[in-house]
């Protein structure tokens, strides 16, 4: 083969590959599970007491983080192999006013968002991350996990965390208190963090009801009075009436982001200020799987390539062997 043929063949190959990669048709985002449960976190109601952090550790049997500064409370700074849920704070300037972007502060809860179309489930090579087909809860199964940590890379919220300080560590993440042995949701209960939240800032319930509640709150203006439920929205333990001190952002985090989440957040300040990632509506899982399945559908492309390669290699090898 001369140079021209080589360049032509190479060009055709590259063009072919380019076509394949551009026609790659991603599947649509997954839809919410039929009986999806989740939580609604309302940053304006959160008083930063961290009762949810403590309750989470008790229920999930995890060591409190002590930074040696004599705090009574758990002093975890971020999610880790010891912490599934953490309250973070935004502050600006004098930090005098709650829920104000300027010279104010606001709280934000970080825990698994239980994505409708979870990246961690899509990228795990050994199916150690699973989305419950009924409740949509994303669970982790250490008996399958090889510890490659692709779930951590593939999670837009950096939620799955590995126990780096343990020679035989595992991945930890919030499983909505429904992991084997605990199963609070299956038993008709709710998550520990929602149960102990004194203000109803963390509210448990079916995703659809939480979404309706979030939309009702979007309609409110500062100065309005509203009766906020506590606990499980489908059977609230109590209500408390409160006057709104700040307008909500007209944005329910988790309605659409990367296919949506079962844990919804609402807030009076913009979500990027609260450390939420820059996500579009399309889930990365749907795009990645689209590319992967276009290239590997029924293994047709690799099989055809193998057939062609075997033929060409055999012919050329026989030629070379004959020359020697």
């Amino acid at each position: 083969m001369d140079r021209r043929t080589f360049l032509k063949t190479a060009g055709a190959g590259v063009a072919g590959a380019a076509c394949i990669s551009t026609v790659a048709d991603a599947r649509p985002n997954l839809e919410p599970a039929p009986e999806a449960v989740g939580m609604l976190y309302d940053s304006t109601l959160c008083v930063g007491c961290k009762a949810c952090v403590t309750a989470c550790k008790e229920v999930n049997d995890m060591t409190p983080v002590d930074r040696g500064d004599g705090h009574i409370y758990d002093s975890a700074l971020d999610l880790s192999g010891d912490t599934l849920n953490v309250i973070k704070v935004y502050s600006d300037g004098t930090a005098a006013v709650k829920d104000s972007e300027e010279n104010g502060f606001a709280f934000e809860k970080r825990s698994c968002m239980h994505c409708v179309d979870p990246g961690c489930v899509s990228v795990c090579p050994v199916t150690a991350m699973r989305r419950d087909p009924l409740t949509g809860i994303v669970t982790h199964h250490p008996d399958a996990c090889i510890g490659c940590r692709t779930c951590m890379v593939g999670c837009p919220y950096n939620v799955p965390q590995f126990e780096y300080d343990n020679a035989f560590g595992r991945i930890h993440k919030c499983q909505m208190c429904n992991q084997e042995g605990l199963e609070r949701i299956n038993k008709g209960g709710m998550t520990a963090c929602a149960e102990v939240c004194p203000t109803g800032a963390t509210l448990f319930g079916p995703r659809s009801m939480l979404m309706e509640e979030a939309k009702r709150r979007m309609e409110l203006k500062s100065g309005d009075n509203y009766n906020f439920p506590r606990g499980d929205i489908s059977k609230p333990e109590s209500y408390h009436e409160k006057e709104l001190e700040a307008d909500y952002q007209n944005h329910i985090w988790g309605e659409k982001e990367a296919g949506g989440t079962n844990v919804l957040h609402i807030s009076a300040i913009a979500f990027d200020k609260l450390g939420m990632p820059p996500l579009e509506d399309r889930s990365y899982a749907s795009v990645s799987e689209g590319v992967q399945h276009t290239l590997y559908k029924y293994m047709a492309l690799p099989a055809a390539a193998m057939a062609g390669l075997t033929y060409v290699v055999k012919r050329n090898k026989d030629n070379h062997d004959g020359e020697e």
């Binding site: 590959a17 795990c124 399958a144 890379v153 035989f168 075997t310």
Partner: protein
């Protein structure tokens, strides 16, 4: 039958002893990783779960081990039999590079004692790029062992087995071309699922597999030039420049395609502004691009390609370019959000250095004991 011969000579050279020391230091830190957990050695964290053990040892290491792949395409697909003398050395380097990439992946696995779950069909998730990479790399390592086996069989004089293997070898050569095409492109697909964490200049959904494949191929051809030049100096071998200059021409062609795709994507998606933003990412992009363009300019003319020194510098530039491209995409510009940063620890670096040192030791020993390199000049 090949005309390659064992080089012979002393094994315990100063270079070998230096590598041995580095290897022992690396093994010490590796021991700590297994007794005290990964956090005791590596600086990986909640936002940067993949440090240099994944990004250098696996993502870059296997690309640097693509010499066997690149040459196999040239010899067996494009029917260029004259490259046979370079093949065994390239295969050996590929085998060592991939085997140690496999070792790197294993030591980085948080739950390595369950690694076999990757091979159990009821655990497999066919949506996962990691599954494809894991299975494909594992199979390719076995294929490389078979492809390199003739060198060993010739040495021990197992001519019967050699004859049978030679009859079936074409299947493994074909597999040895198919498998790297699959997993090297998949290494690019990893980036898709990382979404916003990958900086815009390196995040290109649909072209990731193609860009990863093109860089793997150019790095493969460049490592062939690099190894041939290095062996020539180290072991006083005949000059291969005439063969290598033709490889230089292939590199130029592949690089031109790469640059068109890379810049085409950036221009069409309106990302040119990021190149001139003047921040860390734009500087890294410019450095990376310079390293990619240098070999194209240096090797454009026939005369320059026949200068062994220019060839070597172009190959080195290309190796740095491809490595920096992957480092940039996976690590240097990777941004998981506020609160996380990563810089490798001394122990972490020493484990990787130790692995590379072992690779060099094994290469030096094997070319002295097995028929890999060609001592006398060939036509």
């Amino acid at each position: 039958m090949s005309h390659a011969k064992p080089l012979g000579g002393s094994i315990f050279t100063p270079a070998f002893m230096l590598c041995l020391v580095l290897f022992v230091i690396g093994m010490y830190f590796l021991g700590v990783r297994f007794t005290d957990g990964m956090g005791a050695v590596a600086n990986i964290n909640g936002g940067f779960p993949w440090g240099i053990w994944v990004v250098y040892d696996v993502v870059i290491g296997t690309a640097l081990a693509c010499g066997g792949y690149a040459l196999a395409i040239t010899i067996y697909v494009f029917n260029k039999g004259q490259y046979h003398p370079l093949m065994r050395a390239a295969l050996l380097a590929s085998l060592l590079g991939y085997a140690l990439g496999g070792v790197g992946a294993f030591i980085d696995m948080g739950r390595y004692w369950q690694f076999y779950n990757l091979l159990l069909p009821w655990h497999m998730n066919f949506n996962a790029v990691m599954l494809e990479v894991g299975l494909c790399v594992t199979t390719y390592i076995l294929v490389l062992v078979i492809e390199f086996a003739p060198a060993f069989l010739e040495r021990i004089g197992a001519h019967g087995v050699l004859k049978i293997l030679n009859k079936m070898l074409f299947i493994f050569i074909a597999l040895g071309i198919l498998l790297p095409t699959m997993h090297q492109s998949s290494l690019g697909s990893f980036l898709i699922a990382m979404g916003y964490k990958v900086a815009p200049l390196w995040q290109t959904v649909h072209f990731q597999p193609l860009l990863a494949l093109l860089t793997a191929l150019t790095m493969g051809f460049s490592i062939v030039i690099f190894e041939a030049s290095a062996s020539q100096v180290a072991f006083d071998l005949p000059d291969e420049t005439s063969l290598l200059s033709k490889i230089g021409k292939i590199i130029v062609g592949l690089l031109l395609v790469y640059l068109v795709v890379r810049f085409g994507e950036i221009i069409l998606n309106g990302k040119v502004g990021y190149i001139f933003a003047g921040d860390k990412n734009s500087l890294l992009f410019l450095l990376e691009t310079l390293l990619f363009i240098f070999p194209v300019v240096a090797l454009l003319s026939q005369k320059m390609r026949q200068n062994s020194r220019v060839l070597l510098w172009a190959a080195v530039s290309m190796l740095f370019a491809g490595s920096l491209y992957r480092f940039n995409a996976f690590l240097f510009t990777y941004d998981p959000g506020p609160g996380y940063s990563y810089f490798p620890s001394v122990g972490e670096v020493m484990v990787t250095v130790g692995i590379v040192a072992f690779e060099i030791m094994a290469y030096m020993v094997m070319v002295k004991m097995l028929p890999v390199l060609h001592k006398e000049a060939h036509a």
